[in-house]
Structure formats: C-alpha cells, structure tokens
C-alpha cells in the first residue's frame, strides 16, 4: 500500500494537470491493421495461437454483431463511433511472452511503477495482493503465481488459460454473458484480446487479493478485455481491477466483458476502481467505457458482491449484475460514480431473482459536478419461482454546483407475490455551511469537498478491500478537483 499511496501523492504533486496518469509510454508495438473485418479476427486469433473452436466462436459473434444495432437507450450523448477507425490489436512487441519479470521490457515496468503498481513481487503490496497487468491488448506480467498454484488457484492472463486450461475456458466462456448478449459484449466476443482468468478450486479460500491493472496506451486503440472468474463449491475469492489511460484528444473505446460463476456456498467479491482518462474540461477526449459485467450465483447459498468506484471515463455505460439462481443466494452492488466537467455516467445493476429466498442489496452513490450527467439505472426482477425473494435498494445523489444533473431510473418487475422490494432515493448538495465549517477547522476547499464526498460514499467505500480503500479515497478527492469555487 505504502508504495501505491506514495506514488499517488507524488504524481499528484508533480503534475499541474488534473488527470495524473495521462502520460504515454514510448514502446515498440505490434499492431494489427486498422479497422475490423473477418481477417482482423483471424489475425488476432492466430497471434494468440488459439484453437479452432475459439476462432469459430469469435467469427460467429462477429457475424451476429454485424446485424446488431448500437443501443441508444442510455442517457449519454456522443458522436457515432466509427468502428473501422480503431486498432483492435496492439501489444508490446516481444518475440515470446516473457517467462519472468526480468524479461519484461523495463520501460513497461517503469510505466506500472509510475502508476503506483510495482510489479516486482517483493514490492507488491507487501505480499497480500497478486497482480496481473494488462497493457493495451495483452497481459504483461502476473505476480505470485507460484504461491497461488500451491493451493490450486489458477490466476493469469486469459490467453494463457486458453492454452493451459482449454476445457475450463470452453465450458464457461459465454456461459454468463452469451456471445449474442448485447452490442458491445458481442463486439468484445469477436475481438477480445486478453484479460484475466481466475479459477478457485472446491473449498479453497484464496489466500490473497487478486488484482488486475488495465492500461490503454496506444493511440486509437480499443481495449477489449475478457475476464472470467470461477469459484467452485465452498470457495472464496476477492478480486480487484484498476484502470488508467493516457491523456489523448481522441476518444478511445473500452468494451470489456466480465463473467463470474459462483457454485454452491461460494463467494466472489469483485471490486473495481475505474480511473480511465475522463477527457478535458470541455469534454475533449476520454475513454468510452462500455462494459458488460455479470455474475451468476449458480449454487445454493452462493454470493456475488460487486463494488465499484467509477471516477474516470468520458462515458460510462456499465451495469454489473447478478443472476441469483441458487436458492438462498445473495447479490450485492455497491457503487460510487463520480462525474465532473463533461463526463457522463449511466450505471447501475440488474438483480435477477430466480431461486427461492434469494436476497439482493443495491447501494448506489452518484456524485455530479461541473456540467456532468450521472444516471442510476437499475432493474430488480423477481421471477415466479423466487418465493420469499427480497431486495433493498438505496440510491443517493449528491450535486456540486448548479450545472450538473443526477437521474435515477429504477425498474422493478415482480412476478411472485411473496417478494419484498424496497427502494429509497435521496438527492442532496454540499452546502456552503458544510464547506465553511470544514475550512474553519483548517481544511482547504478541495480537502473539505473530498472529506464530505467520502462521508457521503462511506457505505460503499467500506466494502473495498482495505489495501485499496485509501487509494480510492484519494482518487475521489482528485476527481473532484476544481469542482467548487
């Protein structure tokens, strides 16, 4: 933690700019020709030395995608994306995948150090977290593999898992988010390049936090990662992802898919700290973050918990969801979404209650400043067999200034009369009284806003793994810089 926090501070101090991770790493890259076609998909698949079935799966998705239309129901505005103007594959050029960190390009290691993510194992958060680092399209390094293998945990890049555990990948890929699920998920299915793969065997409690850091570096490059986490019966895992990107005038597309499978009595805790480049004050540049995340509680008494702190991206379109299939299974969604300047976020969750006595909790905190728009969109669906299902939803919005917007769009569909669904919503603003009170106690304006906003988000922040909570708190302060006064 110390190293991470220090770097955050350092980067914050050195840079006059508001976005702290906007630098570009100059490194030799392998890229596919620009644009999207069957040939590009074959190129990606060949680069990754994939089996035939996976190429077929990609191509099927691609043909399906060609017939689909971009969704327009979200409350976000952006110019039409030209999908032929994107590079679908970019990787640091090395002849072979590095076998150890010593073989990784030192420039890359320096990049991750700059980001506050030292990959050298002895430095990685004092041994409590294992990290997989994804640079543009490929995974560059995974730490602590050996220690995890001892207990049977598989953690590494998706491409590697395709080679070493093809039976697992084939069984679960697309089992939660089908290749035809939605426009962006289908695109991802066709062109995904890498991501993380996690398998926790029966009865194993993963001995450390697993973490992936995603970094988009190359220009005009889309990042399409795919993450698959399987928790077998009675197992437990806590996983965290972090994301940053350089500051560029063009918009960059990020369309990821995350699938979680929790068997009987298993628990998956999935946390995200999303800090993609948000664009400048006028809305120029920034990442389009169109992400599909879904988990299925397949077995009885299983639990999936999503925690997200969304501070970056020009546009966030993201609804981490839970399908509560197993009886007594539990789904949770804790979200903080901050939008400043011209950022737009349309985010929320879906809780699909299938099994008996399934329970879900949704706590959403939206903070809006500048000219930003922040929408909570959620669906709670109780199916006929979900006897005794319960949901509690709380959506709170905080406005800073008078040119931003907060919107709440909850959908509730109940087809079982024994279900209980509760929804609470509030909207408030940071008052001048609160700011003055903090400043009279010596806090400067930005620290005061950070403190008040962190207080507002407390119920969500306490769900984050300890090691990342401090970093996330600072990030909230940084994202709101310049939002008052």
């Amino acid at each position: 933690m110390a190293a991470t926090a220090e770097t955050v501070d350092q980067v914050q101090d050195n840079s006059g700019d508001k976005y702290k991770y906007g630098f570009v790493t100059d490194i030799e890259m392998d890229t596919a020709p620009i644009g999207l076609s069957e040939d590009i998909i074959r190129f990606i698949s060949a680069k990754k030395e994939e089996p035939e079935w996976l190429l077929d799966w990609r191509l099927q998705a691609y043909h399906r995608w060609l017939e689909m239309e971009e969704p327009t129901w979200a409350k976000v505005n952006y110019p039409k994306i030209n999908f032929q103007d994107i590079y679908y594959y970019a990787a640091p050029s090395t002849k072979e995948k590095p076998k150890s960190l010593d073989e990784v390009d030192p420039e890359l290691l320096r990049t991750y150090e700059k980001l506050g993510i030292p990959l050298r194992e002895q430095e990685v958060l004092a041994g409590v977290v294992a990290v997989d680092a994804v640079f543009d399209s490929v995974s560059v390094a995974t730490t602590y593999k050996g220690k995890l293998e001892e207990v049977g945990v598989i953690f590494g890049s998706f491409s590697e898992a395709v080679k070493t555990h093809p039976e697992l990948v084939r069984k679960y890929l697309g089992s939660v988010v089908p290749a035809s699920d939605n426009y962006y998920a289908t695109l991802n299915s066709a062109v995904f390049t890498d991501g993380s793969f996690v398998y926790i065997p029966k009865g194993v409690r993963c001995p450390m936090e697993l973490s992936t850091y995603f970094r988009i570096n190359a220009e005009n490059t889309g990042q399409f990662e795919r993450t698959l986490i399987i928790a077998e019966e009675g197992s437990y895992v806590s996983y965290l992802e972090g994301c940053t990107a350089p500051q560029r005038d063009e918009n960059q597309l990020h369309a990821a898919v995350v699938e979680l499978v929790a068997m009987k009595d298993a628990e998956i805790k999935y946390s995200t700290v999303q800090n993609w480049y948000p664009g400048d004050e006028t809305g120029k540049g920034g990442i389009y973050n169109f992400v599909t995340k879904r988990g299925v509680c397949r077995g009885a008494n299983s639990k999936i918990s999503w925690t997200q702190v969304e501070t970056g991206s020009a546009i966030t379109w993201k609804y981490p969801s839970c399908v509560l299939q197993g009886d007594n299974s539990v789904g949770e969604f804790y979200s903080v979404a901050i939008t400043n300047n011209a950022q737009q976020a349309d985010t929320g969750t879906k809780m699909i209650h299938v099994g008996k006595n399934t329970r879900s909790t949704i706590i959403s905190k939206g903070i809006s400043a500048g000219k930003a728009d922040n929408t909570y969109r959620g669906l709670v669906k109780i199916l006929p067999r979900a006897e005794g299902a319960r949901n509690y939803t709380q959506c709170d919005s905080l406005l800073i200034g008078d040119t931003c917007g907060a919107h709440t769009t909850p959908y509730i569909e109940s087809r079982n009369p024994s279900a209980r669904v509760e929804h609470e919503a509030t909207t408030s603003r940071i008052s001048e009284d609160q700011l003055f009170y903090c400043r009279q106690r010596g806090l400067n304006e930005e620290d005061a806003v950070g403190l008040i906003v962190n207080g507002f988000c407390k119920e969500v922040m306490k769900e984050l793994p300890m090691e990342f909570a401090v970093e996330a708190q600072k990030l909230i302060g940084i994202s709101l810089e310049g939002s008052v006064g």
Partner: protein
C-alpha cells in the same frame, strides 16, 4: 503587541451595512465578552473574523498577531490559530468525528511545516481530552454532529478546540440550546483553556454563560459598533437593565 486588533471594521451582508466601524483589542491571556441585542452584528463579527464567504469587508483592518487577518483565506486563518465555536455546528454525514479531527490536526501541522500526526499518538490525545468533556468513544465514531443533541454538539465543539489548541478562540452564542449541566461542562472546557498566551472572545446575548466563564472585559455591541466597555460588572448591569438604552442610542 495585542493578539487581536480590530480597527474601525466595516462589513456588509447582502449589501446592507452591519458592522459600522467596530474597534476591539484583545491581548493574549484575556477573556473578552461581547454582549448585545439581536441583530446588533454579533454573529456577523464572528463570521467576518473567520472569513466566511458572503461577508464583505468594506473598511478597517484586523491584525491577528500583527498579521493582516483579512488578507487570508478561512482555512489559513484557522491554521494560524483562529478558532470559531459555532452557534449551530454543522452536520457532516458519514464523516466520523475522529476522521474530521485528524484532518483538522494534520491540516494545521502541514501549515506549520510539521509531519502528520501518528495514529496512536493522536488516538491517545483525543481520548484524554474527550474524557474530560464527557465524550464517549462511541460518540467519536459517529458522524460529526449527525443526530447529536444540542449539548453533544457544543461539547464536540469544545473537544475540537481542546485538540486544536488555537491561539484565539471565538465562541458564538455557545450557550444557546444548552441545559445547565451541559453549560457547566462546556464552560469548564473553556476555562481549562484559559492561558497567558491565548485570547478568548465570548459572544453572547445572555449573562448566564459569564457566571461560569468570568470575563476580564465586557463590551456592548449595538448597531454595528461597540457602544460601551467595562469590567465583568457590566454584564450584571446589562442583565438587570437590558439593552433598551443602546437600542435607543442606535436609532
């Protein structure tokens, strides 16, 4: 040199002149009380000293320790050692009392070029001070002022004061909303802070608080000016005769 020197201070709120040439000198070690009728400018004076937005100074000057106070932002004044105990302490939902205190202490330390306080030392310091004010650990964990009774809020202000150890304390109607027991506890807290290098300014409508915190000097504020100054006996006189003659003078 005096600790706080207010010279011919004039200030507007919403375009209306509230302070109309106020003079006040407080030396280190002294406790002053300003008494006055409603609308005389008592709260405005405290906010102008603390640097609240919306209180526009139109004339005069204020020196704090010889430095131009009015030049500085609210947080700089606080970090230099000016503390305002609020008449209505503000709620900060989700912000634990401990966290708030630590932020305040560290802001001051950074301002003075010192390292941030270590967690254990801080905890010990706060617990010791809290105990004398009858503040429980549980209350320190709760969000600042959220769901606090009037007495709890004022004790919490006294705790912040005790931990931050300001050079100059301004107490704005600290007695309002307090029952007699709470008043005693808070007064004891303030009295414990009397010291030869600290100045205290008590702003109050009633003499009641001054039975417990005995001032060195008492001033009558009416119509934006100090109308009369005297010793502690002036407070007793005011309690008997009221403010009628000063309101008359102003009119």
């Amino acid at each position: 040199m005096s600790l706080l020197e207010v010279r011919n201070l004039r200030a507007d709120v919403d375009g209306k002149e509230i302070l109309k040439g106020l003079d006040l000198t407080i030396n280190a070690g002294e406790v002053h009380a300003i008494m006055g009728p409603n609308g005389s400018g008592k709260s405005t004076l405290s906010y102008v000293l603390a640097g609240r937005d919306g209180y526009e100074v139109t004339g005069g000057e204020v020196l704090f320790d010889g430095k131009d106070l009015l030049e500085q932002a609210a947080d700089e004044r606080a970090n230099d050692g000016l503390f305002l105990a609020f008449q209505y302490p503000v709620e900060l939902p989700g912000v634990a009392g401990m966290t708030f205190l630590r932020e305040a202490v560290n802001s001051k330390r950074r301002h003075n070029g010192e390292d941030e306080i270590d967690a254990m030392g801080f905890l010990k310091l706060v617990r010791a001070k809290a105990k004398t004010l009858g503040i429980s650990d549980e209350m320190l964990k709760r969000a600042v002022n959220v769901g606090f009774s009037g007495g709890e809020k004022k004790r919490n202000e006294a705790l912040q004061m005790a931990v931050l150890e300001p050079r100059m304390m301004v107490l704005d109607e600290t007695d309002s909303g307090l029952d007699i027991d709470a008043l005693k506890v808070v007064a004891e807290g303030v009295n414990a802070m009397r010291s030869p290098d600290r100045g205290i300014l008590i702003i109050t409508h009633y003499q009641r608080l001054l039975d417990y915190i005995v001032p060195d000097k008492v001033h009558v504020l009416a119509d934006g000016q100090i109308q009369r100054s005297g010793g502690k006996e002036l407070a007793v006189e005011l309690e008997k005769k009221g403010y009628a003659e000063y309101i008359g003078a102003a009119a």
